[in-house]
């Protein structure tokens, strides 16, 4: 019964959507704003990765909202899981030698790779989110391989707070020096150089730290509880 109703609803939804798709043909250029970013982006922001310049600069406010969403999820998850407040003593089963050694060997490499990805976000594909996620997967490996190790709660909270505050403060500095919130008040430098694009790498590094510590904190909370 429920299934038939659901399928009927879905058929209606599918028909409606396919009706509207005819007005947005696939593969045909149809943008105005996007074209402007491609043509002017490198000149205006100094970043050669246009996606990065859109994410961090043209639509930087969205990114601020997005790190806020992740922050909320990390805090909300902590609030939900610790609501009972009972800390149980866990029995830790040590990982096998191969797993432990492998993880210990891979962890610094993954960390370096993640850092590379977010530092070069304005030049190559990647950036704060991808780099942060890679770093968090490094921590996931540590939880699998070296089960007695934990990241310090204080340090991860500090990284979260400072990452978010850096973003806000840079935005406010833009308001003070450039007249607009998040305006790029630092010199753009030459395109394709590591030290270029003004505030974009700084913000992406802050985002990388914040996302990495939040995702690692989420995993930590899920493993720790219950």
């Amino acid at each position: 019964m429920r299934r038939t109703v659901a399928i009927l609803l879905l058929i209606i939804a599918g028909l409606g959507i396919s009706l509207s798709l005819t007005s947005i043909p696939f593969g045909v250029p149809k943008t105005k704003v996007g074209r402007h970013y491609i043509n002017e982006g490198v000149k205006e922001t100094g970043a050669t990765n246009i996606v990065t310049s859109v994410v961090v600069n043209y639509r930087g406010f969205d990114t601020l909202g997005e790190v806020t969403v992740l922050f909320i999820a990390a805090i909300g998850l902590g609030a939900v899981l610790t609501a009972s407040g009972k800390e149980k003593e866990r029995k830790i089963e040590p990982a096998s030698l191969i797993l432990g050694t492998g993880c210990r060997f891979l962890f610094p490499l993954i960390l370096v790779f993640g850092t590379y990805v977010f530092i070069h976000g304005h030049l190559t594909p990647g950036g704060g989110f991808q780099g942060g996620a890679i770093i968090a997967s490094g921590f996931l490996l540590i939880y699998l391989g070296c089960r007695e190790r934990r990241i310090s709660r204080v340090a991860s909270n500090l990284a979260e707070s400072l990452g978010g505050l850096t973003f806000v403060v840079i935005g406010l500095l833009g308001l003070v020096f450039g007249g607009h919130f998040l305006s790029n008040f630092l010199p753009r430098g030459t395109a394709n150089a590591l030290f270029s694009a003004g505030i974009i790498p700084i913000i992406y590094i802050a985002v990388g730290f914040k996302v990495g510590s939040e995702l690692a904190g989420i995993i930590d909370n899920l493993i720790e509880e219950s």
């Binding site: 989110f129 890679i134 997967s137 989420i218 995993i219 493993i223």
Partner: protein, 79 residues
């Protein structure tokens, strides 16, 4: 080229259907991860390497990990 894409899309949809059929939740999560991975390849083919990286790192790896942690805390089989 178009055949590769069609094959990938079919594979992705099969993964999604499998995720809905499996009663073992771990298998369902693995199928959903397959969907995410194929989607990451499709993002790459759509000339979106940034999104592909994000989907592979966040959508596939981390999501699967938190699902599996959550399933270990609850029940593995659907009733």
């Amino acid at each position: 080229m178009i055949f590769i894409v069609s094959f990938l899309v079919v594979l992705m949809l099969v993964g999604a259907v499998a995720a809905s059929i499996f009663r073992d939740l771990i298998s369902a999560v693995i199928s959903a991860t397959l969907v995410s991975l194929v989607a990451a390849i499709l993002f790459y083919l759509l000339a979106a390497p940034d999104v592909a990286m994000a989907e592979a790192a966040i959508g596939a790896a981390l999501t699967a990990a938190i699902f599996i942690i959550a399933i270990r805390r609850t029940k593995r089989y659907e009733e």
